[in-house]
Subunit: 320 residues, 2 copies
């Protein structure tokens, strides 16, 4: 049986193999992802993001249990560099998988935040394609919400849960930098800690400022204590309610279109990067580029203009 057919039949080992091929940018992976794509579009993709230390890993684990109890199958992509489950990604997979090892309705994949700019986004979307094609009802993406790359990943989810905790002091500042705009649900985790009321009050202020529209109805603010399984059922319900709401409003399709355009862009960006590196190596060989740059005989701005003229001959030279 071909790898694609094995993935579609739910073969976990085949899925893991394809994810690995895709992550390694093996040329064989592209055709197989393209073959899987017609089988996608059903999964509810949920981003869970927040500061390091917000307890996202525990929260995601508890959410998995609630969704399973509702009969939903769940795929997880863990890309939080501060999570004990990624970084040492393989070990992390093993630990998490063991907890759900008896349950074929759960599949967990950790991604390391290594590699080229934007590569994380590409790897994530490839994993989502595989999980969606396999028929998982829910796909949870756990990521730290600080870098642009990570924020972009969560922005492309159908439902974005932004997790805050009392006492970090700079929650609201971080959100100003981009998380505020992407939140569909606010979750104050570790809500039994001192300072929870202040965070809740700040979020209520934000809730009043943000104008509800089709993409963002009034943003629910939920309290959880993930480590004690408090508030998780309500959070799961809010996620499902949001999914239903955007399916009805048409926002689901808009988000899906944006997400798929970003998949296209991430593939192109990586290929262009490879092309760029080849051209730079050629310039180094033929014209001693580094030495000329260090000697200030030419500037990065001029080299970039020349490369652009070669790569995109039809584009106008002005502007960059």
């Amino acid at each position: 049986m071909m790898l694609v057919e094995r993935v579609l039949s739910g073969d976990i080992r085949a899925a893991a193999r394809l994810m690995r091929l895709a992550d390694d940018r093996d040329p064989a992976a592209r055709a197989q992802l393209a073959a899987l794509f017609p089988h996608t579009g059903r999964a509810h993709i949920v981003g869970v993001t927040g500061n390091p230390g917000a307890g996202k890993s525990t929260l995601v684990d508890m959410l998995v249990k609630v969704f399973r109890s509702k009969g939903k199958t769940v795929g997880v992509v863990a890309i939080d560099p501060s999570s004990p489950f990624s970084g040492g990604a393989i070990l992390g997979d093993r630990i998490r998988m063991q907890r759900h090892a008896e349950d074929p309705g759960v599949f967990i994949r950790s991604l390391a935040t290594r590699g080229h700019l934007g590569g994380l986004s590409r790897s994530t979307s490839d994993v989502v394609t595989v999980l969606d094609a396999m028929g998982f009802d829910m796909v949870l993406i756990e990521t730290v919400g600080v870098g642009q790359d990570e924020v972009d990943i969560v922005r492309n989810a159908h439902t974005s849960v932004v997790v805050l905790v009392p006492g970090l002091g700079d929650e609201i500042q971080v959100m100003k930098a981009g998380l505020l705009e992407i939140a569909d649900i606010f979750c104050v985790n570790k809500a039994d800690r001192p300072g929870a009321e202040r965070v809740l009050a700040e979020l209520e202020t934000i809730q009043r400022i943000v104008t509800p529209d089709a993409d963002h109805a009034e943003i629910p603010i939920l309290k959880t204590v993930a480590a004690r399984n408090e508030g998780i059922a309500e959070l799961a319900d809010a996620v499902l309610t949001h999914g239903d709401a955007i399916r009805t409003s048409g926002a689901w399709e808009r988000r899906e279109s944006t997400r798929l355009a970003d998949v296209i862009h991430s593939v192109l960006r990586e290929r262009m990067t490879a092309e760029f590196e080849a051209r730079m190596a050629e310039l180094e060989r033929t014209s001693d580029l580094s030495r000329r740059l260090l000697a200030r005989d030419t500037s990065p701005y001029e080299v970039a203009a020349d490369l652009l003229a070669a790569l995109l001959p039809s584009a106008p030279p002005q502007g960059d």
Copy 2:
């Protein structure tokens, strides 16, 4: 007098204007940055990075004072989204500038972490070009060390200071994700807090594991309490010592080459992104792309392959 000449003569308002033009991607900025470039190459570029809450802003402010007391002029680029000085970047500039308003030897520029993937890296290098051309001896780049974009910026500094604090619990995990490899100096800030000894012990373990080479001599581990001005002079000395060491070893030129290649790449990446967006808009108009993707009549992988064939006709089709 032309803008470039005014910048070279040390005109702060002209410099701020050019930085703004560059940040807005005004086509006029490129030629001016190219004209400034021959006047660059003297500044010692120092990255200061770490988790939100590590106290980087205070640390950078104190470092500025020490470098000034040594007669060195200092430019600062603040791009930490959790810093009260960025996000609300304009307000932040005002607050910080006021503190050094009497001192023409200090120039502070905040950058928001908005915009396209990689745009932050581009904006940062443009600001560094301006500050370097103006003759600032030191250029300090303050950034949160979690996202790939932010890590890449610090990677390109001549000297990278990784700031940790006791009690966050996940310091070492974060570093595994990429910060460990780029550290030239470890700084344990808020070293009067409980848990400082544990962080120091962990760093000493890392210090023993990392093999010293021309780029990374044995990594110094320093303790500071920035809010009380403790250990800052020693940190400043370690930064200057590292700068001297890599100038002697040849690592300075290697890092500078990598940094300038990244400037070229960031300009190209932005231009390619604009081209991509134009092509996608055309596909939407001429072939109803979103509808076909949503209906799974085509896949992002196939669309990407077609776009690549059009954009890079000479490149081989296999691989991506």
